[in-house]
Structures are given as structure tokens and as C-alpha cells.
Symmetry: C2
Subunit: 148 residues, 2 copies
């Protein structure tokens, strides 16, 4: 077996740190400012992007890249906080539509500006166009290589 060399090992540890700390920092900001989690935010964004804030469950799953059970659990929690509602789907009695409530729409609209500012400040600040393209290439390559 070959271990990683020093440079690789350094990068790997920094990477692991970054991929836990950055989401954690964003989560804290979102939680403190708007009482939403990153996951809540993603769901609300997808809902607010559609006409009427109404989306079929399995389409939400696909759009978010989530497992259905994860979405179901999450919607239950968000429903309890009045951000979304579940209604029977039109045309397929198995299905279920997720609807953005007025409170949910208000929450996402209130949360978005500060969140975007934080993302830009923590991640995009001082990122040169060249770095941006390099990183895009990297993420695309690794994602392609991933099973699934």
C-alpha cells in the first residue's frame, strides 16, 4: 500500500477541515439570523423558484439530490414549524405535493440577503476568475468520478 505523500496529506486534512467548518459556519449564521438550517434554506429556495410554491415530492428529491426518506423527515419538521404544508397530489393518489406557506415565503425572503452575503464573504471573496474556473473543473471531475 502507498500512503499519501506530504503535500497530499496536508491538502487532505485541510480539505476535511474545510468541508466541515464552512457549512458549519454558514449554518450558524443562517440559524442565528433567520432560524433556518442550510437544508431548510435549500428546500425553501426550490419551492420559491416554482410557480405557486407547489412541487411534487419526488421532483423535490431529484432537484435537491436527496433521498426520499430524508425529504420526508425534513418536511415533517418544517411542517411543524409552519414553513410548508403537504397536500395530496393532483392526478396521482399516491403522490404528495409540497406547498410553500406564506410564513415559508416570508422566511426565505428574509433570510436570503444575509446568507448570500455570507457565502460571498467566506467563499468567493478574492477568488480570481482563474481560481473559480479551476475549482469548477475540479468539482466537476470529482463528482463525475463518484459512484451514483
Amino acid at each position: 500500500m502507498t500512503w499519501l505523500d506530504d503535500e497530499q496529506q496536508h491538502l487532505w486534512r485541510r480539505w476535511l477541515l474545510l468541508t466541515t467548518r464552512l457549512p458549519a459556519a454558514l449554518n450558524r449564521q443562517l440559524q442565528a439570523d433567520s432560524d433556518l438550517s442550510l437544508a431548510d434554506f435549500d428546500v425553501l429556495v426550490k419551492l420559491s423558484e416554482t410557480d405557486g410554491g407547489r412541487v411534487r415530492s419526488r421532483e423535490l428529491c431529484a432537484a435537491l439530490g436527496w433521498e426520499k426518506s430524508r425529504l420526508s423527515h425534513h418536511l415533517t419538521r418544517m411542517g411543524a414549524r409552519g414553513l410548508v404544508e403537504r397536500t395530496g397530489a393532483a392526478g396521482d393518489a399516491r403522490g404528495s405535493d409540497v406547498v410553500l406557506t406564506p410564513a415559508g415565503r416570508a422566511a426565505i425572503e428574509a433570510a436570503a440577503p444575509a446568507h448570500v452575503d455570507t457565502v460571498r464573504e467566506l467563499f468567493f471573496a478574492d477568488l480570481t476568475p482563474a481560481q473559480l474556473q479551476a475549482l469548477t473543473a475540479l468539482t466537476d471531475r470529482v463528482l463525475d468520478r463518484l459512484p451514483d
Copy 2:
């Protein structure tokens, strides 16, 4: 408020995807091959790197960058599986030493080779030295900017 531009938005979504999918893939490999989680692996690595596999709890916290309560919960679970043990610390009756059991040492030694191979295959494959350095610079810059 200014939203992100198209390139930034693309990168941001890919980034979010990558930082959830890559750890998930590594987790599944570790779990399937060795019945360990990534967190288990990190703990075992730190323990196995020290003489006698015995470390003071708060040093483990610092080394891993974890919160103390997280470590405590995790050690409870790992203890139940026979991977580690807790003993009173020498010299400070408040403290607690974590000790690697023979089973824990066997587990980490069995798991390491396949895990490193997976990391190399999924992340480092085809990563040029230039990309490696660019990415290192990026992670360092973002981490420096992070609160905490």
C-alpha cells in the same frame, strides 16, 4: 442585494453537492469494508499515532477539532463496540484517558489501506501538482477567513 453571478452560482451548487457526496461515498466504502464510520476512523488514527494508544480526552478534542460533547457521545458508542475504553486520567481526577483496545487497533489497521486507496482514487487521481497547489492555497485562504 447582489445575487451570485451564473458562474459563481454553478460552482456553489457543485461545491455543496461535492461536500456532501464525497464524504458520503467515503463513509459507505469504510462502512461496507470495515464497519467503521469516517469519524471512527479519525478517532482511531489519532489514538494509534500516540504511544500506547492512550490520549487525554481534551487533547483528542483539540487534535480532531471536535467539541467535547461530540467526542464524549462518540466514545460512548465506540466503547460499546469494544474499539476504545475510558479510564480515569493520571494526575487529574476530573480528566479521562481514552485507550485504544486491541480490537480497535486491529480495526484501524485492517481499514486503512482500502480507505486510503479510495481517497486517492476519488480525489487525488489525475490531480496535477499545479491543481494541488492551487487547491491548497484556496483551502488555506478560506479557512483563515473563517470565524473561530
